[in-house]
Subunit: 283 residues, 2 copies
């Protein structure tokens, strides 16, 4: 393994395998060609052309969401989309714009819609240097079971903002109270584009750092993390270099932390791969 | 102006206007088509094809450098390349690889060779918050005269490493002694690809942060900076948003600082433009 392997794994997107999903003239997703073909039997909702798929369902956000949802139900029956999670994401051409529709979280990668999340690095400084809190994902997680993870991470669901998602996930996943999470500092975003089993993961992670007091010990409340461990940050980075123990995109988040905190030496042979590989330009 | 305008200005590269310069099978530059055409009369050094230009001069690094240098002399006479600066850059397919030849700094953009530099954010914290040292470039600088600049910045010349360049420029440009510059922390790199008057600027900036003591006052020693000023970091960022007062790529370096230090709010409408716009992927 190498740092570049992790970056490549999250950026294995191949434009030749994909057609855009458009609403009007705006792109709202990236459909793998097999997924595009599977939409051809829903002509009231999607018009499938060789070079693109148009969303043709009409009406307000509720009406379009309901029309797409019927398609998603059929895709679930066909095992093209995993059982949904009763959590919807807003689908829009760009962050901050009004949503065109709401989509079940389980179907987001099928349509290659951009998915936004938050990720929190919880760290503390002691005489041994920087320490990072690392969690282990529960064995029943659908995505990346048993993998090592950041202290707090979660998708930004419909109706939640970035800060509200962070506060909610911080409380549920790690028992971080509101009085503590409000000290978290936004430090950038990571962007990547990855083909997975379902389709295309167009990922945007808003990253926060939170320096935690020595007496703080995280406590999981939603069953998604089996335990937390405080690890020397330098050990986390060397474990990322050598193993596949961390969830795919968490490798990128910790490398971003390492860069910003001077944990990667300028003479590291992968320095520029890391420094230039965590922020795929958004269109 | 906006943050995105500055990012776009540094990434106005259009692949349709350019052909690769290759050595063997490896790309070592990006030639604007008019520049490629101008090389056709040096067939012993460059073989110009419609879709690429091959470096055909043979021999060791010294021999190839001398052959290219003769071409550069002719280009200077034709005013295609500015008068050179007696400083050469190592030209290689990738950072860390052995150089194919050395090239006069003035000609680097003509060939679209990747140019590496260092950039130092010098800051201090006081009761008013984060303060940044900002310099004003001398009126006789060839590039971006009179523009505002970072505390220390410089190109990485042939034979110098990153840290050695930083130490040298820190002493010459701002009077920062070795005992202080060794505390500078590497915090990432900025990458951009820009067409300018001469050709293509394929820029990589290694970025450092240095927290400076209250008693430190920079002193320029090489005449390249007319004065330094300590400014509130928040004012620097708002001035970048509103004006074109800073050198083109310095806008990106200070935006990178702002992101990492939590000076950009997550609700800033340009947050994702900045977070995803400072690190063009390297090939």
């Amino acid at each position: 393994m190498s740092f570049a392997d992790h970056i490549r794994a999250c950026n294995n997107y191949d434009p030749a395998r994909v057609v855009p999903l458009v609403a009007g003239e705006r792109r709202i997703g990236l459909l793998r060609r097999d997924n595009a073909a599977a939409l051809a039997r829903f002509p009231a909702v999607f018009a499938v052309a060789p070079d693109r798929v148009h969303l043709v369902a009409r009406g307000d956000v509720d009406a379009v969401s309901a029309a797409v949802d019927e398609v998603v139900e059929a895709l679930v029956v066909e095992n093209r989309v995993p059982k949904w999670r009763n959590e919807t994401f807003d689908i829009a051409p760009r962050w901050g714009e009004a949503p065109v529709f709401r989509l079940d979280r389980g179907a987001v990668a099928f349509f290659g819609a951009r998915a936004y999340g938050v990720d929190l690095n919880g760290y503390r400084r002691d005489r041994r240097g920087l320490q990072l809190w690392v969690g282990r994902r529960a064995p029943d997680k659908r995505l990346a079971p048993n993998k090592l993870d950041n202290l707090v991470a979660g998708g930004i669901g419909n109706g939640y903002g970035v800060a509200a998602t962070l506060a909610k996930e911080a409380e549920e996943e790690a028992g971080i109270p509101a009085s503590l999470i409000e000290r978290a500092v936004p430090v950038g975003a990571i962007t990547y584009l990855m083909e997975n089993e379902i389709g295309i993961r167009d990922g945007v992670l808003f990253v926060y750092d939170l320096e935690l007091p020595a007496e703080f010990v995280p406590q999981n409340r939603d069953g998604e993390v089996v335990h937390f461990e405080l690890m020397p940050a330098a050990s986390v980075i060397e474990r990322i270099r050598a193993t596949d123990d961390f969830k795919f995109d968490v490798n990128l988040v910790f490398l971003h932390f390492a860069l910003r905190h001077g944990l990667l030496g300028i003479d590291d042979p992968e320095y520029l791969d890391v420094a230039s590989g965590l922020h795929r330009p958004l269109d």
